[in-house]
């Protein structure tokens, strides 16, 4: 049933791309950029799934009693997704501060009005 994760993440990426390509309001464009990031992160984490595995953390009760550790999922994509989430948040912060600067200078955030370079 992991195919549901794959399809949902691809739908998120396509919806985000649609928002970036079509919308005129600049804040909606930045929101679409964020949605693409979330879809990509979910795809990366879902690719490392092993059927029947649990979280890759050793349980103290298992280690103390000598039971063999349970079957783990892949820990490497989870570790790389942590970095990717932080990068997505930072890109959103800088894009939003640029939108604030555009509003201060042009007094509107419609993408049709901010096309010309003023003197």
């Amino acid at each position: 049933m992991i195919i549901v994760n794959y399809i949902a993440s691809i739908i998120l990426i396509v919806l985000g791309l649609y928002a970036v390509c079509t919308k005129k309001n600049l804040i909606k464009v930045v929101l679409g950029l964020g949605i693409v990031d979330y879809g990509v992160n979910m795809l990366i984490v879902s690719l490392g799934f092993n059927d029947g595995g649990t979280a890759p953390i050793y349980q103290m009760s298992d280690l103390l009693n000598g039971v063999a550790p349970h079957f783990f999922v892949d820990p490497v994509p989870q570790a790389l997704t942590l970095t990717s989430i932080v990068i997505g948040a930072c890109v959103d912060a800088m894009a939003l501060s640029l939108v604030i600067m555009i509003y201060r200078k042009y007094k509107s955030i419609n993408a049709d009005d901010v096309r010309r370079l003023h003197g």
């Binding site: 791309l17 029947g52 280690l63 604030i100 600067m101």
Partner: protein
Amino acid sequence: MKRTLTVMSLLVILVCGIFAGRYAYDNIPVTYDGREVSVVDLYNNPTVYDESNPDGVADVIVKENLEKTMAANNVAAVVFDFRGYDTLGESFILLTAIAGSFVILSRGHKKEEKGGEA
């Protein structure tokens, strides 16, 4: 015209993505066969049912983790020890983004005040 072209190309990407997801789901490396399995036996020794020979990086990391780092959390060991350079770069990204936001917002504030006076 432009709008229909955009929507058509995004639909093509969506269909290709669904086919790719289907292909990835069908070719997952089999790690254990879920049929005719007694759950108690699976819980007691799970490695008997493991049918794959994993030879990737993740297998090496999980096998060597406890004796090399003595950390119970495998993900924290991967983030800070096995791939510590990525976390260093990400630390720089945080610093740059927050400093950049601060500089951008304060420059605009100053210019607005100057433009109002002049």
